[in-house]
């Protein structure tokens, strides 16, 4: 039963990490647009911007 001394705080710490993660996601506005978020996951990536140097040629 000594294992409880490690496991219980560990479990609570994990839970707390989850809660903090949730509060962070809430603060950063991730629940503002639930419908859009569902679609963004399957949308194509944006084409690369032109600022990158061209791979070939002068």
């Amino acid at each position: 039963m000594e294992v409880l001394v490690i496991l219980v705080p560990l479990a609570l710490a994990l839970g707390l990490v989850g809660l903090l993660g949730f509060l962070w996601s809430l603060r950063s506005g991730q629940y503002e647009d639930l419908e859009g978020a569902a679609w963004r996951a399957i949308a194509d990536d944006e084409p690369a911007r032109e600022q990158r140097p061209a791979p070939y040629g002068p």
Partner: protein
């Protein structure tokens, strides 16, 4: 002639050289639109952020301050095929959004605490190999998690209960708060006394379940508000303000102040209240008074937001609500009606008024009973509190918000927006519907009567020409012809019409005299006072279009459907007798009144109310606003004046009247389910309370009973979703 559009009112400076604007966008519905808009806008140089919110149908834009004019975003979106307009969150929506975030945060905290307390409780319940010291340790840990979590997540309930108690009322949050606080308090005392049972899990789980229900309810309401806000923004109410003696700037109405002078051109709808200081014209006040005949306007005439200018150009000095005007009268009537609105007691609060005393009496009797039977104080109190915990109204607290969320979602899909939370309950009890005529039973826009009498190619040409005019009558011709491509190089003669050339032939569309068709108009037999005539001339050939307001396409069927449901129908209109009687006759409504003033409308509603009827008022005009507030429940079309829309309990979209019936059907079903849910909660209590009274309740039983009953109520609420498409009989 396009005056400069000035959106600076909506632009927010973010500091560090960035500016921000929110646009409401029409027609964004899929991932494709989202990507298209974001790419299209990001391609504009200097734009640093373009993000679509698909739930709210809005775009947030940020850019480097400088050369970029925000009007460019609106133009770019128009090129992409989306109508957009800058948008400003109004107070109500900001408040709801804040509330929604707070509830979600509470839910997160409660859910975290529930899961962790459960993790500690399950070993205690199973009791395998557990020493008393370990059990105490687990109880203390539970207390450490549950107490702060409940103090935070319980705020919505505690605050609302406190408010109710202070005004000597009882609402559902009172028994919830008492139950939670007593359960936690007793658990702490029991833990100190090394007892077997602590109820931290039940108390915090109760909060988590209830918060889930409330959060969903709140989200639905926020979504409805967002759509209503977008509709208001997309109407793009602007006014042409004089910035100098002869220079105008197109400004959003929100940026217009009293004392400003604005220009009102023919065919424009006035967006402000004010007095004419220069110019002569005819104005259409139908949205204000219900009267469909045009009124002359000149220096000193008062005009109201919603007035349509027909023929000449007017200069209007904007006034703040002046005393002694129609607007002031309506404002006063509205205030009286709102005050007199018999405070409707929500079903949930009525239930809790019965429930709270019953439960608290049961707990007290349990305490006394056990004392009389010779039990000790400690045992008697613990048993009494167990009664409170087991009856803690989890199912009861969810019974109504759960149904409301599902029903509001179904209404939303049917094109009805809910303005007030308890409208569903009230709507379900309606037994009489009073309609306004102009703009409610009839369509808000004009339509061409004699399309069939005009050759197709002529109609198409006239429609293309009409696209260049601002006049409402021309707009009707353009709509009738389904015209999309305007003729190039068309000139508008204010107050007369438009003319231009197609293949070298001169075309004119406008007043009969403008098209040299005066004789044709005089000889025309159709002398209905409701009809306006517009002439079209191609070369030497002349045609006449008759334009008038039509009844909504499904008005007759809707009246029949209402009757079929045992609902009486009546018309109360500010329009002339001839016009009202014609409409009433074609709809088969025998009960109608014409030429009614706003005060008379309210008086008639009071009269009907005294006879015991539950009346729904459906109206759109400024003159309807007081009666919308005085009715038991009220509804407005989306074309209504701003004041009417905010006064009405529900707003319906589109050209059809069918949402009125759909809303009644859905709300009747929802009310039935709410009652069912309340009974389910009662049955659960009847089964569970005896167990608690005899003192057999353990934390395990409490947790199982609570989640079981909540689940049952939630599942029953889902039935409020219509299985088939909403009411459609044609």
């Amino acid at each position: 002639m396009q005056a400069k559009r000035d959106f600076s009112h909506y632009v927010r400076e973010l500091g560090s050289g960035l500016a921000h604007i929110d646009l409401a966008v029409e027609g964004v519905s899929c991932a494709g639109c989202m990507a298209k808009i974001e790419r299209g806008l990001s391609a504009i140089p200097d734009v640093t952020l373009a993000r679509v919110n698909l739930t709210d149908r809005r775009v947030a834009l940020e850019w480097k301050q400088g050369a970029l004019d925000p009007a460019r975003f609106v133009d770019r979106l128009a090129e992409l095929g989306y109508k957009a307009y800058p948008f400003e969150r109004v107070g109500a929506e900001t408040l709801e959004a804040e509330q929604s975030r707070f509830l979600l945060r509470c839910l997160g905290v409660a859910a975290f605490a529930t899961m962790n307390v459960m993790m500690l409780s399950v070993p205690v319940w199973s009791g395998v190999d557990m020493l008393p010291a370990q059990r105490d340790f687990f109880h203390w840990l539970s207390a450490l998690i549950a107490l702060p979590a409940a103090a935070y997540a319980g705020q919505p309930f505690f605050r609302s209960a406190w408010r109710a108690l202070r005004s000597r009322n009882v609402n559902m949050d009172v028994p919830i708060s008492i139950g939670v606080i007593l359960a936690l308090g007793m658990s702490v005392v029991e833990t100190i006394g090394h007892a077997d049972h602590a109820y931290f899990d039940a108390a915090i789980m109760l909060l988590a379940f209830l918060l889930a229900g409330r959060t969903l309810d709140q989200r639905m309401r926020l979504k409805t508000r967002a759509v209503a806000g977008n509709l208001a923004a997309l109407r793009a109410e602007t006014a042409a303000k004089f910035v100098s003696a002869d220079e105008i700037s197109e400004l959003p109405v929100a940026a217009i102040r009293a004392g400003d002078v604005v220009l009102l051109r023919p065919g424009e709808r006035c967006a402000v209240d004010g007095t004419v200081i220069d110019g002569r014209s005819e104005i259409d006040q139908s949205l204000i008074t219900g009267e469909t005949l045009y009124a002359p306007a000149g220096q000193g005439t008062l005009v109201y937001a919603g007035t349509l200018n027909i023929s000449g150009t007017l200069r209007v000095r904007v006034s703040a609500a002046a005393e002694g005007t129609l607007l002031a009268d309506i404002g006063r009537l509205l205030d009286n009606a709102v005050q007199a609105r018999s405070r409707y007691v929500r079903l949930a609060d009525r239930a809790s008024r019965l429930y709270a005393p019953a439960v608290h009496a049961a707990a007290l009797l349990t305490l006394l009973g056990w004392l009389l039977l010779g039990a000790g104080w400690h045992d008697a109190i613990v048993t009494a509190i167990a009664v409170l915990i087991i009856t803690c109204p989890c199912a009861l607290g969810l019974a109504i918000p759960a149904v409301q969320t599902v029903a509001a979602g179904a209404l939303f899909k049917a094109g009805v927006l809910l303005n007030s939370g308890d409208a569903i309950e009230r709507l379900a009890e309606v037994d009489r519907v009073i309609f306004d005529k102009t703009g409610t039973l009839t369509l808000p826009e004009l339509d061409v009567v004699n399309c069939a009498g005009v050759p197709k190619d002529v109609l198409a040409l006239a429609g293309r020409l009409a696209l260049s005019s601002h006049h409402p009558v021309a707009a009707a011709v353009a709509r009738a012809a389904a015209a999309t491509s305007p003729v190039k190089g068309v000139v508008e003669v204010p107050g007369e019409g438009v003319h231009g050339f197609v293949n070298g032939v001169e075309m004119r569309l406008g007043k009969p005299s403008f098209c040299a068709a005066g004789q044709l108009a005089d000889s025309d037999a159709v002398r209905d006072p409701e009809v306006s005539l517009v002439a079209f001339r191609r070369g030497e050939a002349r045609y006449l279009f008759a334009v008038r307001q039509f009844l909504r396409p499904d008005a007759e069927a809707v009246i029949a459907a209402l009757r079929q449901r045992g609902i009486a129908v009546e018309i109360l209109s500010g329009d002339r007798e001839a016009a009202v009687s014609a409409a009433a006759q074609s709809l088969g409504i025998s009960d109608w009144r014409a030429g009614v003033t706003p005060a008379d409308k309210v008086a008639r509603l009071e009269e009907v109310k005294r006879s015991g009827s539950r009346v729904m008022m459906v109206g759109d005009g400024l003159n309807d606003a007081p009666s919308l507030a005085a009715a038991y429940v009220s509804m407005s079309p989306v074309s209504a004046t701003h004041l009417s829309q905010t006064t009405a309990d529900l707003v319906f979209l589109g050209n059809r009247l069918a949402p009125v019936v759909t809303a009644i059907d859905l709300s009747r079903k929802a009310l039935r389910l709410m009652r069912q849910n309340l009974w389910l909660a009662v049955v659960y209590n009847v089964l569970a309370v005896p167990i608690a009274i005899v003192g057999l309740v353990t934390p395990l039983i409490a947790a199982a009973a609570m989640s079981g009953s909540s689940l049952l109520v939630m599942l029953n609420a889902l039935r409020a979703h219509p299985r088939r498409a909403a009411w459609k009989s044609w």
